[in-house]
């Protein structure tokens, strides 16, 4: 069973067609690299999948639940970190994760918080307020709230944006560890991430899917991924 299904999703902002008739599905164990230039419709597609935006036409199904018909059920199985990893800056990391755990009604919230702090290597900043953290830590907090309930579906909007190489490596390591049990979509414009992280690549430009294929096929398109990217999104 596909854990994520996008069926003919469309969304416009005013006269601009941000997402146009986008369809794909993601199975358990797949990590989708969601590529595309800025403004291509990556974030909008993710917002449609997570139920933050309502699609004008088409539907999004997460873990078998239609996001617009059964939003709460769908969101229970969903972990999502929006672009820039927003969080309540005035809360400490621990308070914020505890809030996320409580809001989700997790069975043993204290234990989930402890395990997630450990998993995301946030222990040393657990008592700090989020607004005082460096970007790398803030991104990890965003990631942590998305995985605290061990969701079947994980959608991450540029989780490695602005991180240094060590931090990027960390995030990828954590993702790889859990990927086998989940359906994951990761948006990025760092092409090297495709080879290291993803099992499949979807390229989107001007709101439309330009390519949807396995990592191996994508990498065979050419030596220079930047050139491949330019050709596909032109």
């Amino acid at each position: 069973m596909a854990l994520i299904e996008a069926k003919n999703l469309s969304k416009s902002y005013g006269a601009i067609r941000a997402v146009n008739n986008v369809s794909f599905s993601v199975d358990r164990g797949e990590v989708i690299g969601f590529l595309g230039p800025n403004g291509a419709g990556k974030s909008t597609t993710m917002k449609l999948l997570t139920g933050h935006l309502r699609a004008e036409s088409g539907c999004a199904i997460v873990a078998g639940f239609d996001v617009s018909d059964q939003p709460v059920e769908a969101k229970r199985h969903l972990g999502y970190s929006p672009e820039g990893a927003p969080a309540y800056g005035e809360m400490t990391v621990r308070e914020f994760l505890r809030f996320a755990a409580d809001l989700r009604g997790l069975a043993d919230p204290a234990e989930r918080v402890r395990a997630t702090l450990e998993l995301c290597r946030l222990n040393e900043v657990a008592a700090q307020t989020i607004e005082t953290l460096s970007k790398g830590y803030r991104m990890r907090v965003g990631f942590a709230q998305a995985v605290i309930h061990d969701p079947a579906v994980l959608i991450l909007d540029e989780p490695t944006d602005g991180l240094d190489p060590n931090q990027k490596f960390e995030v990828r390591r954590i993702l790889k560890d859990m990927a086998a049990r989940k359906a994951v979509i990761v948006s990025t414009h760092i092409l090297e991430e495709v080879g290291e992280l993803c099992t499949r690549v979807i390229v989107i430009a001007q709101g439309e899917i330009r390519c949807d294929e396995s990592r191996e096929r994508f990498l065979q398109r050419g030596e220079d991924l930047n050139q491949v990217f330019r050709k596909l999104t032109a």
Binding site: P86, G89, F99, G105, D150
Partner: protein, 255 residues
């Protein structure tokens, strides 16, 4: 088919989510010094208006009606101050995207936020209890009437908060939310004193002008402070509060 999630949430999760929002929002007021400034300002004004403007002491009557007289003004100013952050801050920080992709309905989130803010205003109001005890010490007031006055003031605060919630849902700026919320509440105060009567008199039949005057905040609070039991003002306050809550929910849902 097995459950797709490794960690399925219990069915009572709706209540858990609502409780988590309520606790976070209420605690949120005390995370910044602003809350203490707010409580201090509310108390200073509540007491000094009653004594220095209302001449409560010189009146020589063991009653709090002169104390409550100024509460619509106080709430018109301070409920929007407390309510400005409700949605505007979520928008500014971008956390609204988290909140609305977590397993909670907009309605549950809105109600949790609203009740937390109302509870905070109730704290401000409770801190004025020494005024009531002073009156009790100096004279022999009717405690039932005083209790009714406090209940009325709390309902009035809820109505102003309803207005403030709508203002906060419309913008990502707390300042704009506060100013528009305050203006709307201010109009509700002035309407009751007949400030706009002449304006309306030219356009509307006089019976309607009278009806509009009934929408003033003090008009509806006054019966409480006199200990008169009347359902209409209570219904009025609750209606304004919940209309505001409902409207703010719709605005956020349609963002």
């Amino acid at each position: 088919m097995s459950s797709p999630s490794e960690n399925p949430a219990p069915k009572s999760a709706g209540l858990a989510a609502f409780g988590a929002i309520l606790r976070r929002e209420f605690a949120g007021y005390f995370r910044t010094p602003l809350a203490y400034v707010f409580l201090a300002v509310f108390n200073a004004f509540a007491v000094s208006l009653a004594f220095f403007v209302g001449n409560m002491y010189e009146a020589g009557v063991a009653s709090l009606d002169r104390f409550f007289l100024y509460h619509p003004w106080l709430w018109a100013f301070l409920a929007p101050a407390a309510g400005a952050r409700l949605w505007a801050e979520e928008r500014r920080q971008g956390t609204i995207e988290l909140l609305l992709t977590w397993p909670i309905t907009v309605w549950q989130a809105a109600l949790g936020k609203f009740l937390a803010a109302w509870l905070f205003l109730a704290c401000a109001l409770l801190m004025t209890l020494p005024v009531a005890f002073t009156v009790g010490w100096l004279g022999d007031p009717d405690w039932g009437v005083i209790l009714a006055g406090y209940a009325g003031s709390l309902l009035c605060a809820g109505a102003c908060l309803g207005v403030a919630a709508v203002a906060s849902a419309l913008t990502r700026s707390q300042v704009i939310a506060f100013v528009t919320g305050f203006l709307a509440c201010f109009i509700l105060v002035l309407v009751g004193y007949g400030v706009f009567d002449e304006l309306f008199a030219g356009m509307l039949p006089s019976a309607m002008v009278d009806e509009i005057r009934r929408l003033g905040l003090w008009r509806n609070l006054e019966p409480f402070t006199l200990g008169l039991f009347d359902l209409r003002p209570a219904v009025y306050f609750v209606t304004v509060a919940f209309s505001g809550l409902g409207l703010s929910t719709i605005i956020i849902e349609r963002r």
